[in-house]
């Protein structure tokens, strides 16, 4: 391993309206090292790699050096030309093309405008051989497993002689064998002098593979150290430790009767889920991305079919065929992605507010003036920043859009609220407002189920926390046991993995 720095970032900041995603980050990558970036969801890892790969422009003030020379990564293509390849969490692959075609797409070897197919194929099979892979250059990518597809992307980086490879959660959908295989490949390719930036939630992988580790938290650089100098509990502490101001100080209420009881529920990718929710309490569902939290929420709301198990609302067994039954049974579902599953962006606030309550009314005729009044009523009640309820939702900011989603459900007079990521993409001020609104619900005796990957939110808002992993509840933490360390340990499988 040579000690030559290949890429170095100095004082890089990136802010979005209302959010400082990165603040004065300095980071360097050596030739032939695996540099892991650790941090919770929202710590700024993705923003950082987007800056490196040219997808985001950093704020003025910092600089980026590539092989000692200052560069401007103003476009993904500029980063690619320098030899930086990003392998994203989601596949960026063309399923209907062969492995060779995928590797050379946009970079075809040509002579007089004609493609040199044989040459491309030879190069591909050479690299696949080097990687000890049994894949054939002509195979369609469609037929490969997601693990094999990742190998194609790595092969692409080698064929095109990349100098830096960024991997964002490469193993998120992998089986155990595939993970080991991939880690082996990474060990091998770093010997060729490629610098690798590796991002993963799975700390065991990090410890297996990293040469150095950088920890980010809330967009700030916390520490960079060699892997030998740190152990897992210490790393977790660096990842979660934060000043108490990020927490919301809520009041706790004496829980009332049980409103929702779930017994051995399975389906939609979750298994054997049992829990209860009482009036006046928040039951948190924690777990890493892909642990099945959101899938469970959709299942509870009737958005997907259950395969077995029972759901009781106020002691009565219910069987939701679709969400309209859930709404009639006083359930509300504030989804994770408000723009794609929560709002009608091209419609007015008023239209968005009344839509869910339509299943509760028998009248077939609607009154537009009444809708406008209802819309205005909730604008006032929730403090939405909009001139009136005739404003189109797409013209509102994230926090105000979330309030429109809340208005839609408050208008149904629901009792059980499912909040999936209640404050995702919302700035700090609006977050506090949303939390206050949730507290008001508890005060009125409603029950809240909250799924979130925002740790301070989970710790400060929940009465109890259920931790999920791979579609199952792996532990329940009572109020005195709820802490970031405990949640993180359960959700990544502790030291067992």
């Amino acid at each position: 391993m040579s000690n030559k720095v290949i890429l170095s970032l100095n004082n890089i900041s990136k802010s979005f309206p209302g959010v400082n995603a990165l603040q004065n980050i300095s980071f360097d990558l050596m030739k032939g090292e695996v540099h892991c970036i650790c941090g919770e969801n929202g710590a700024g890892k993705s923003t950082l790699i987007k800056v490196i790969s040219g997808a985001y422009q950093p704020d003025p003030g910092g600089n980026i050096l590539f092989e000692g020379k200052p560069v401007s990564l103003n476009h993904p293509y500029a980063a690619m030309k320098l030899g930086i390849q990003t392998i994203y969490q989601e596949h960026t692959i063309f399923p209907h093309l062969s492995i060779t075609e995928n590797i050379f797409v946009g970079m075809e070897i040509t002579k007089n405008g004609m493609m040199r197919k044989a040459e491309m194929k030879n190069k591909t099979s050479e690299v696949l051989k080097y990687l000890h892979s049994d894949l054939k250059p002509d195979q369609l990518v469609d037929e490969l497993s997601s693990g094999e597809q990742k190998i194609v992307e790595i092969a692409k980086a080698l064929v095109l002689e990349r100098k830096v490879i960024i991997m964002d959660e490469p193993t998120s959908s992998f089986s155990m064998n595939e993970i080991d295989h991939l880690l082996g490949i990474i060990q091998k390719i770093k010997d060729t002098g490629i610098g690798i930036i590796y991002i993963s939630h799975h700390l065991d992988e990090v410890f297996k593979i990293a040469d150095r580790i950088t920890v980010l938290r809330d967009g700030r650089h916390i520490i960079t150290c060699n892997v030998q100098e740190i152990d897992e509990p210490q790393l977790i502490r660096y990842m979660v430790g934060r000043d108490a101001t990020a927490f919301y100080h809520r009041e706790f209420y004496q829980p009332g009767e049980t409103v929702l009881k779930v017994e051995n529920l399975s389906g939609n990718g979750v298994n054997d889920i049992s829990f209860e929710v009482r009036r006046g309490e928040v039951v948190g569902f924690a777990g890493m991305v892909g642990s099945g939290r959101s899938e469970l929420m959709t299942l509870l709301f009737g958005g997907a079919g259950k395969s077995s198990g029972k759901i009781f609302i106020l002691g009565k067994e219910v069987n939701f065929k679709d969400p309209s039954n859930a709404i009639k049974n006083k359930m509300c579902y504030i989804t994770e992605d408000r723009q794609s599953t929560g709002l009608f962006l091209i419609h007015t606030i008023a239209r968005n507010t009344i839509i869910a309550n339509m299943v509760n009314t028998k009248r077939l005729i609607v009154n537009p003036n009444q809708e406008i009044k209802t819309g205005n009523h909730f604008i006032e009640k929730l403090g939405t920043k909009a001139a009136n309820s005739q404003v189109l939702v797409m013209n509102l900011s994230g926090g105000n859009q979330q309030k429109v989603v809340l208005a839609k459900w408050f208008n149904t007079n629901g009792e059980i609220f499912i909040f999936d990521e209640p404050t995702r993409g919302i700035d700090v001020g609006a977050k506090q407002e949303i939390y206050q609104i949730m507290m008001n619900l508890l005060k009125e005796g409603k029950a809240i189920i909250m799924a979130s990957s925002d740790m301070p939110e989970m710790v400060s808002m929940s009465d109890r926390v259920m931790v999920m992993r791979k579609g199952r509840i792996v532990g329940e933490l009572s109020k005195d046991k709820v802490s970031e360390e405990n949640i993180l340990e359960l959700s990544i499988g502790g030291k067992k993995i």
Partner: protein
Amino acid sequence: MKQSIVPQERRKFVLFGKGENSTVLMILVFFFVAIVFVQLISGAAAGKVAYPSFISPVNLLNIIMQVAAVGIMAMGMTVVMVGGGIDLSVGMLTSFVTIFIAKAIIDWGIPLYAAIIMVIILSIAFEAAMGWIISRFNVEPFIITLGGMIAFRGIALLICNSQEISTKGALAGLKKNLIEGAKGPSGLSLTIPIYVIVFLSITIIIWWLMKYTKYGRRVYAVGANRNAAFLAGISVKNIVMSTYALNGLLVGIAAIMLLSRVNTAIITVGQNLEIDVIAATVVGGVAMSGGKGNIWGTFIGAILLGSIANAMNILRLQSEWQFVAKGIIIIAAVTAGAIVQVRQAKVQQLKQIK
């Protein structure tokens, strides 16, 4: 907490939703003014001052008569497109309906009203079947209705043996002038056939349906965001299917009225009609992506496109020019609509910051 900045809404009856149709309305007015101006100029050049015949009551009624069938079909297309779909088969379905009725009453000896009821049920069934496939199997409506269009053409040709059928005036009742007695001494004769009344009534009914009923709200919601609509308790599949079924009913009615005007059932009756129908709909401000648009916009769009052909006739221009004019107006109307929308968005965003 924030002060309330919600102003009291004045209660008023708005026929045209807040500026939603102002762009297409402006284009229509501009077009009328331009034609009148051209008529006055050319009249003056010929040395006489004449009342511009383009905006005479007779001619205006003429325009409405000419657009009635396309207009009714555009109402159906609006419902389908607001719900996020599109229907390419309406033209050939029209041919099928006209041929079926003519054949039924002339060759098969079925009473007229029985034939009408039969064919309307068939028309609804065909459309509902396409809607069922589109909604249940989540396939592209463009492709399914393209298939429908080709199949309807085949069915229609099979029924008539690829020949034309004359209705021998059996549907003349629909063409009956309701105000025949009002013929003026100067030869001024106003014509309001029954089907103009039908056109206007259907426009009002569909406008009411889309604006004042739960069903209308749901169609808009499904077109704007299918997932959000599903999670808001709307049966998305049934709503989508129903928009096609409703379209089938309106196409059936429109086809009967078209037949009463032309008196001959032939495959070319509906040929390329879907182009005119979709054009009227999008000029009226209905978005191809769904969830946006309204009935009055479509109404104005249909009148605008209908008056182009009429104006070309009155100005004695080569009829080929009407395609050029239509094309330019479609492009201009949709582009202008997009520009206005961007501007409105900026204003609303500014208000929010303030």
